[in-house]
């Protein structure tokens, strides 16, 4: 208290000095009393205005330092693979570190991707949600791994006809173990990773984790049980809303508005987080196989475990 009182007295002294001038005698021989009075009054007004401008200016300056809040946009317009997931994670980290980013909207148009990359992004989204609301906008396809990411956010919008769902895992089984003359290894599965049957069972565990993520993410909203959900169906946005797979039908701007509402911000701006996160413009990554004619197929190039929707594609067999 003493310190505060001393500071207050100090400020008061400063004000007194600024308003009434220094505390030393003014020669009466130099000016007349009237003139002195008028001059003092004018000086007092100027000092008064100056003293009002200073805090105002300071206040404005300080106010200007309060950042305008922003809703960050993270776009996923590709399969979820090593590159796209790394880019998403960089943007999520940027959003987490930047205080002005008060909410994030994940704009999705993806058939999913690899299990490990999907899970990596899912876990980063969970960390982001500990600080800021995250809303999904299923603008295009939000299938399989992309839906996995969606249920890891706070609210899901979907377009009326956006394909949503496809809960499950796909994989190409490894070849049956064999031995070779020149290619040798130290164990029966060193070359193949696992037995075919073991891979099938691992898929089942991944599927259960996926279902658990959906169940936790959707909670009581989910209107269907595992026997329906795990059939791996694709639902259009309207159906998905009715079944509780998404919260609302809408657009990107609605998703942004909802995210801002959750973050309790107004007059915000939107930022595509790609550039601020230091990422180059979107580059194509050869995730899918291509036909000899150069057409893209829905089949991934590498064998592995995928949370991926592989829609029928006549004539696009690898």
């Amino acid at each position: 208290m003493r310190v505060a009182r001393a500071i207050a007295c100090g400020i008061k002294s400063l004000y007194d000095c600024a308003l009434f001038g220094p505390r030393f005698p003014i020669s009466t021989s130099e000016t007349s009393t009237a003139e002195n009075t008028a001059a003092e009054s004018d000086s007092f007004r100027k000092r008064y205005l100056l003293l009002l401008l200073i805090p105002l200016t300071l206040g404005i300056a300080l106010a200007a330092m309060i950042p305008r809040p922003a809703v960050g946009l993270i776009y996923l317009r590709d399969a979820i693979h090593a590159f796209s997931s790394a880019e998403m994670i960089a943007q999520i980290e940027y959003a987490r570190e930047q205080p002005e980013i008060r909410a994030v909207v994940l704009v999705i148009d993806s058939p999913g991707g690899t299990v490990i990359d999907t899970e990596a992004v899912y876990l980063e989204l969970a960390r982001l949600r500990e600080q800021k609301p995250v809303v999904t906008m299923a603008q295009g396809v939000a299938a399989s791994g992309a839906y996995y990411l969606s249920v890891g956010t706070d609210y899901i919008f979907a377009g009326p006809s956006s394909p949503v769902g496809n809960v499950g895992v796909v994989s190409q089984l490894p070849p049956a173990p064999g031995v070779f003359e020149d290619l040798v290894s130290t164990g029966p599965y060193k070359l193949f990773g696992s037995a075919r049957d073991a891979q099938l069972r691992r898929m089942e565990a991944i599927k259960q984790a996926f279902y658990s993520a959906v169940s936790l993410g959707r909670g009581d909203s989910l209107q269907i049980g595992p026997e329906t959900l795990l059939r791996g169906e694709i639902w259009l946005g309207g159906e998905a809303q009715r079944l509780g797979l998404v919260d609302e039908l809408g657009s990107v701007s609605q998703a942004i508005g909802h995210a801002a509402g959750m973050a309790k911000i107004a007059n915000y701006r939107t930022i595509n987080l790609r550039e601020p996160a230091g990422l180059p413009s979107e580059l194509g990554f050869l995730f899918f196989m291509e036909t000899e004619q150069g057409a893209q197929t829905p089949y991934p190039r590498q064998p592995g475990l995928y949370l991926l929707w592989v829609p029928p594609s006549e004539g696009a067999s690898p």
């Binding site: 909410a103 049957d197 069972r201 059939r231 309790k264 006549e314 067999s317 690898p318």
Partner: protein, 482 residues
């Protein structure tokens, strides 16, 4: 001094107004994140265990007649490898069966399906993609009719051709081809696969079946597991292995009553919707091994009813020649017997010339229409009436009716007590030799065959033109009237 205090308050206000104003302009509250972001219990999610192994196997003693021949089809672009049937074929071999492959590309396989079926006890077809010809379908139908065993196996995973297994999924060619064979037998595969999302063996397409209809094929079974299986439909036959309420068909996405195996009404043909369960390690899961044993028993118990169209493959093993006492073995006769011996040897059948034939040997009886007490015992099972026993001097043959014996050679075959008797009868020795030659040279081509009996025109006579009546309903009238 009072003014100074006011001034300070105003200044502080001026300082704060922009800050508060901007703050309120942008921020309307503080976001309260959830107390906890729930995550799936990744470390607690258990990977489904290895397949449960089946219990003790119950083997059934099966009495075999001869060495059963199991013919496996590889001639219809079958999408499987014979080694995938190893577990089954080992069981068949252990039961004394001979496994043979039908390969249309092999130069030695000139007999074709119809020829090979003549001496097969069972015919196995797996995932055929090349259509069967109409004669082949008819041959298979007759084969089953004559108590041959037919096993048709499809597997929905064999319907797709590309490595990832999606774009060519379930094109159904194999179903069309298999159903060609099965529809005359009241069996049909559905273009689907069965799945169970509730209770399964590690994957939704690995389905447990716990409901069985009584049949030797389902003996000692409590649970069998199929790994991607088609359902099978039958109208009057027997669905053998049935799924529960949670076993769904991919066509209807409805459950209950889907059968993965069904037998034809006569229980001689079996349609089975999965191949994978026959292979390690899946053959040892639940009671799959028992099912495989039962399948082997089913296949080897196909004891073909002898039919002349299958000559020379009506015999089980060695064949002894028995001739009428009135029938002298002259040079021409011996020559004809020699030719017959060559024909039989080519088919792996030994011909024995002995005064006292072994008891378990099949018999080739050579006789005349004249009564011969020595042959009565052999001919009695044929149920023919010789001209000497008929007041009108006519020959009575089941299925053919009464015939004038002139110019006729009669061939009859019957199986009794595990041995086959093939009888050749004619009016006289010369015609009997002619009949024997006909049989040895061209397997009765040109003769009229009706199941176990055949009539051949030998020498001169009225036989074919003097049939009084027919008991069989075949359109041979024109042929006889010529």
């Amino acid at each position: 001094m009072k003014r100074t205090g006011t001034l300070i308050l105003v200044s502080v206000g001026l300082l704060l107004i922009p800050i508060i104003g901007r703050s309120l302009w942008f921020y309307r509250g503080t976001y309260q994140p959830p107390d906890q972001i729930p995550l799936p219990p990744f470390s607690e999610i258990a990977i489904p265990g290895l397949p449960a192994q089946g219990g003790e196997i119950t083997s059934t003693e099966v009495e075999l007649e001869g060495k059963p021949v199991i013919l496996i089809d590889t001639s219809h672009s079958n999408r499987f490898d014979v080694s995938e049937l190893d577990t089954l074929t080992r069981q068949l071999s252990a039961r004394g069966a001979s496994i043979q492959l039908l390969d249309s590309n092999a130069s030695f396989d000139s007999l074709g399906l119809e020829g090979r079926l003549k001496f097969a006890n069972a015919y196995i077809v797996v995932s055929p993609f090349e259509p069967f010809s109409a004669p082949e379908v008819e041959a298979v139908r007759r084969f089953v009719e004559q108590d041959g065993r037919l096993l048709v196996i499809l597997d929905p995973t064999r319907s797709s051709s590309d490595s990832f297994g999606f774009d060519d999924f379930s094109n159904g060619v194999d179903i069309t081809v298999a159903n060609q064979l099965l529809e005359p037998l009241d069996l049909a595969f559905s273009d689907d696969y069965l799945y169970d999302l509730v209770t399964n063996e590690g994957n939704f397409r690995n389905v447990f079946f716990e409901s069985f209809n009584d049949n030797p094929l389902t003996e000692s079974l409590d649970t069998v597991t199929m790994y991607g299986a088609r359902s099978v439909f039958t109208e009057a036959g027997t669905p053998l292995i049935l799924g529960g309420e949670t076993v769904f068909s991919s066509i209807t996405d409805t459950g209950g009553g889907h059968s993965v195996a069904a037998a034809s009404p006569d229980l001689r043909a079996l349609a089975l919707g999965d191949l994978t369960f026959l292979q390690p390690p899946y053959d040892g899961v639940t009671d799959n091994r028992q099912l495989i044993e039962n399948l082997a028993d089913f296949l080897i118990t196909g004891v073909r009813a002898p039919a002349l169209e299958n000559l020379p493959f009506v015999f089980n093993g060695s064949v002894a020649v028995v001739q009428s006492g009135d029938f002298a073995l002259e040079a021409e006769t011996l020559s004809a017997i020699g030719a017959t011996k060559s024909t039989l040897n080519a088919a792996g059948i030994e011909l024995i010339l002995a005064a006292d034939p072994p008891e378990d040997a099949d018999l080739l009886v050579l006789g005349l229409f004249d009564p011969d007490p020595d042959l009565d015992d052999y001919l009695a099972p044929l149920e023919i009436t010789l001209p000497s026993d008929d007041p009108d001097g006519l020959l009575h043959v089941p299925g053919f009716g009464a015939l004038s014996p002139a110019g006729i050679g009669l061939v009859g075959v019957v199986r009794q007590d595990g041995t086959t008797t093939l009888a050749l009868l004619a009016e006289d020795e010369e015609k009997l030799v002619s009949l024997l030659e006909t049989m040895s040279l061209n397997s009765l081509d040109g003769c009229l065959l009706n199941g176990a009996y055949g009539l051949c025109k030998v020498g001169e006579g009225e036989g074919f033109g003097s049939i009084d009546e027919f008991e069989f309903d075949l359109d041979f009238e024109e042929a006889f009237s010529d």
